[in-house]
Symmetry: C3
Subunit: 459 residues, 3 copies
């Protein structure tokens, strides 16, 4: 079985990377400035890392995360000190994918010692810093060295995509595209929702205080994103709820949530219904403009109230929720699920839905595809559970290959490599058990690593 897995893996390991969904910073590729230092590159912005260190008693301030108000203590912010602290706690990551990715970044990208340890902290720090100063470690050079064929970032409709424009006009051939993530102007409970709608009106010349103008503004921004290379939208709601209201009901609902938001008091049931309705509206627009619709539901954002007050979002305090799909997606699916020209990619943080809900839904509705194991679950074990629990019912061809979904640019090749290894291990098992001939497994391995993400995301 191992020999088969190795053969399969060798047949695909060098394929270009398709990264159809993620959160890297387009500024890097627009400016192509060197990355500054090991800590602000690898440690502070990675909430996988800060989360784990925080759980074991380090404070976020110690880790260089800057509070929203008040000055951070100067001493703690010395990068070398932070790096040493990190190195001294590297054992906490044993068995986690973070450890895998970091070992790879240290050894394969920076050609330094791995694993990190208190003993080699200063040496590795110096080595990384040294490399970062070299041209070969600037963003564009690494993009090419990593073999990335296309990389999608994620932006709000209020973003002017200036970095994307700069990349396109720079003459550099690297393909960096955006994705349309309208949560800030779709979620009535998002901070600054009303102001966001006003801004959306300015950007588009539409009257975003009316339902029709609001929808027209979305259409216009989607067209702009598409022009800048985007092939998809993305929606991060707490639930997978969808709705299919009449136009009159939707218009009235819009009036209520906007009024409430202006008064600073978004009513919860209305807000949830509005988000639900907007997924169906987005699907309707996707039928027109062809953008692929992604839904990333099921997370309680900012679960730790006091930390959220002090540091804001994205500090590792987002916790997955039990998520329903069967009832939740039905309004949208009953409206558009039979459309062959729509692509709706659904993700989950609730693995109990893989075999029970998502694979059966994707194995039936033409519009629906399954996004890969996500966030907490893109570990070797999690990726394997995804294949083991979805393939029997949805097959391989209702899935869409791997998403790294990361802001950690340096880890992208390692993440794709892990996904490729696990897929090959799963396929090798099918071959070993005489469930699939090896020549077909080779084809599937290539489809999962390369063809399916290109097709599903229209890249």
């Amino acid at each position: 079985m191992r020999a088969v897995a190795r053969r399969l893996y060798n047949s695909i390991r060098a394929l270009p990377i398709i990264s159809p969904h993620g959160h890297t910073d387009p500024r890097w590729f627009a400016h192509n400035a060197p990355f500054s230092d090991p800590v602000s590159l690898l440690l502070t912005p990675d909430h996988y890392i800060t989360r784990m260190l925080y759980s074991q008693g380090l404070s976020l301030e110690e880790l260089g995360v800057v509070p929203l108000t008040g000055a951070a203590s100067g001493a703690a912010l010395d990068p070398r000190t932070l790096w040493r602290k990190f190195a001294a706690h590297y054992h906490l990551f044993r068995g986690t994918p973070t450890r895998l990715w970091l070992d790879w970044v240290l050894s394969a990208v920076f050609e330094t010692e791995a694993p990190l340890s208190a003993a080699n902290a200063d040496r590795t720090y110096d080595r990384i810093a040294e490399h970062l100063a070299r041209d070969a470690f600037r963003p564009r050079a690494l993009f090419e060295r990593f073999g990335i064929e296309v990389l999608a970032t994620t932006e709000s409709p209020l973003d002017d995509l200036a970095h994307h424009a700069a990349i396109r006009s720079s003459g550099w051939q690297g393909r960096i595209i955006s994705a349309y993530r309208p949560d800030p102007v779709v979620d009535p409970q998002a901070p600054g929702f009303a102001a966001g709608l006003a801004r959306l009106g300015e950007l588009t010349g539409e009257d975003t205080s009316s339902w029709r103008g609001y929808l027209a503004a979305h259409r216009q921004r989607r067209a702009f994103f598409k022009q800048m290379g985007a092939t998809s939208t993305d929606h991060g709601h707490a639930t997978a709820n969808t709705a299919d209201l009449s136009e009159r009901e939707a218009e009235s609902l819009f009036g209520r949530v906007l009024g409430a938001a202006r008064n600073g008091a978004a009513e919860s049931a209305d807000a949830e219904l509005f988000r639900a309705q907007m997924l169906t509206e987005m699907a309707r627009m996707s039928l027109d403009d062809g953008l692929v619709l992604q839904i990333h539901p099921g997370c309680w954002r900012n679960h730790n109230a006091s930390l959220y007050e002090r540091f804001g979002p994205n500090v590792g305090a987002d916790i997955p929720l039990r998520t329903d799909y069967v009832g939740a997606l039905r309004p949208l699916l009953n409206r558009f699920g039979n459309e062959r020209s729509l692509t709706l990619i659904v993700f989950t943080l609730d693995e109990s839905t893989y075999s029970r809900e998502l694979a059966p839904l994707a194995g039936h509705y033409p519009a629906l595809k399954l996004g890969p194991a996500w966030w907490f679950h893109d570990s070797p074990e999690g990726l394997m559970r995804f294949r083991e629990q979805t393939t029997e019912t949805a097959g391989f061809y209702n899935t869409v290959g791997f998403n790294d979904d990361t802001r950690a640019f340096f880890s992208i090749p390692a993440r794709h490599d892990v996904a490729r290894r696990i897929d090959c291990a799963f396929l090798a098992r099918l071959v070993a058990e005489h469930r699939l001939p090896e020549d077909e497994a080779v084809e599937v391995a290539r489809d999962l690593a390369y063809n399916l993400p290109k097709q599903a995301y229209k890249l």
Copy 2:
């Protein structure tokens, strides 16, 4: 470990097949006419196949599924064209159990090429058609060749079991029995519920507009089914809810649901309560007549509304639901769960309940046994999850062996073979880890494959 698994498997591979629950057509065995053509035999009626092809953009019409109204387009219905289309999409089934079963049917039953491909579509079609014309491929001959000792079909109380009677009076020795599936006359929300009750009254001479007469009619039909070989009843509700009302409450509830059904408006809470109460009534009757009670809950039938309107039920749009058993079964279990003479076999489409709810319940209540991995979950992975997540708490002897639960007659041996292989693989692991001596594993393998289904279903 593999050597142990092989020894275990070789010790049971040739055992007769016990198929205590399924959906084959008794007409086949009554008439013993040749099957008509490859497509109407293997493709169109198999919703595992049409579901997957539909999910990848083929229309049901293209696949030969006939809409409820309006003529189907003649061209699409040419079987050879359909077969070619199927062959061209055979890669979609990679990694699914459908692929395993079909490969086996092609190679072992029809001795033709597997896997199917665009290249061999015509050859395989001809080969199958050729075989189907031969006496050796008539239903009864295959029944014998497949080594089936007993095969249960599933019929409504309104069925006259004429085919079963014909089989019994034909002199043929194959044991084909029915199972009592009263959903159409138990579910107030089933289409034609009121008419069904009237018909039930005609069949039995009971006054089925009264609670007592209705129950008496069930008792009579159960007796008739039992006389025609049935040893079990089966109930396919959306939930596992049971109730234990007083006779007066039950009588009043019956009046309400019947009244509502006659007015075409079954009230949802009443309907659910009525189905719940009827499970307990059926258990009560089972204590008298000894029929084994099966519950198959947890599916949202006909999730795709527009498809249901056009094609009716069973087109692959049934989606599993999160299912509660602990509270739901309690009324029934508290009434009859301690009865040693009752056999209640519970199935699930929600695998998260295996270790949490079902194994603990079956590992305690004398009446309760666990049905095998079902429907979406009778894949190699799903069958293994069943053993891994139930054995620790329920052991092997609170399970009942394998059910194929299929209408695909030709796949029955393949399905049982997969189940036997997986059970042997699981047992081999126990042997390899010194958790069970091999001689005991041999005994368990035989029990799972043969003795337990016979005992549990009283066959």
Copy 3:
């Protein structure tokens, strides 16, 4: 991989046993009297065993379990007869952890034949009885032979801990400590709640009919338990709900539940809220006195009503429930989850929460740690699922090693041995897949087996 696993296991197999949570009887070690007979030692009190035998049609009376009222039938209570009955049904335990533990107890502790069988029932009975009469099989001698470094029992605040006092004053060096389990005086729906509060008042001299006096009484008993060696409290609620009421609200709630309990009618919503609030109160006290707080939620106790009436609790009719943690724990976590000096260990019977809720929560909150696979899930498969589904997100260092949680004293070494083997198997996989160097795996193996439970439980 097996060779690595073996090396890892050999490096830790002889480490002392840390048993930080369980239900053995302190009287055994206080009196150090010989255990009486094989049946009352190994069979009757073990609800894993009686549960399984009951599920397969044996009555509890036949198994020697004594009904609450009425005399037990004399004949059935002859231990040798019971042992023979047990032996004749030993096959029911194949594949269960009970079988593993019992085989080990028979062969390693009693040096007799395993597996048990009808054929050797008399011989094994005699052999065990013979051994039990010897000094080497008295409780203290076995404690030492088993290599137990520390063993925690569990007592109510109303317990005087006389056995613990006797152990301490006996001069024997074995470390037996208590744990504070206040459910009887925290759960308003527990039988005798009001009387328990009165008794708590007598024991402490506090006015336990007032909220302040009630809390002060808890503080006093906790201090007493701590003085007698306790390092932890334990709470077995049906849900994981917590609350964070104002003092005034809590005081008023206490008045309501106490009033209702005195009238014999604890109101359900109030009772639940009171239990929820008390978890937060206990956390507050833990911040002062340093006791580790354990929560064991998610079980429907005494699901079988008629059995409960006849035999009382703990006869194997407790059934796990779907359990929410994300919303349920938030009030407590938002109040105290960021405290580094608090240790809150959470367990589950709902394995679907491992990857979805518990690992993400423990991988973030400094106060929170994950208890090991528990009760129905401390089988080899269950222990492996725990590692596979929590390590990726929580790592190893947010877990706390193994708990045997048992009243079956003789099985303690076997249970720890199984846990050690599984952890080593999991680590060996990481080593084989080049995810962890073997020297680090050795360190982790030792941490899981010995260091983490000592640290987490402050032993």
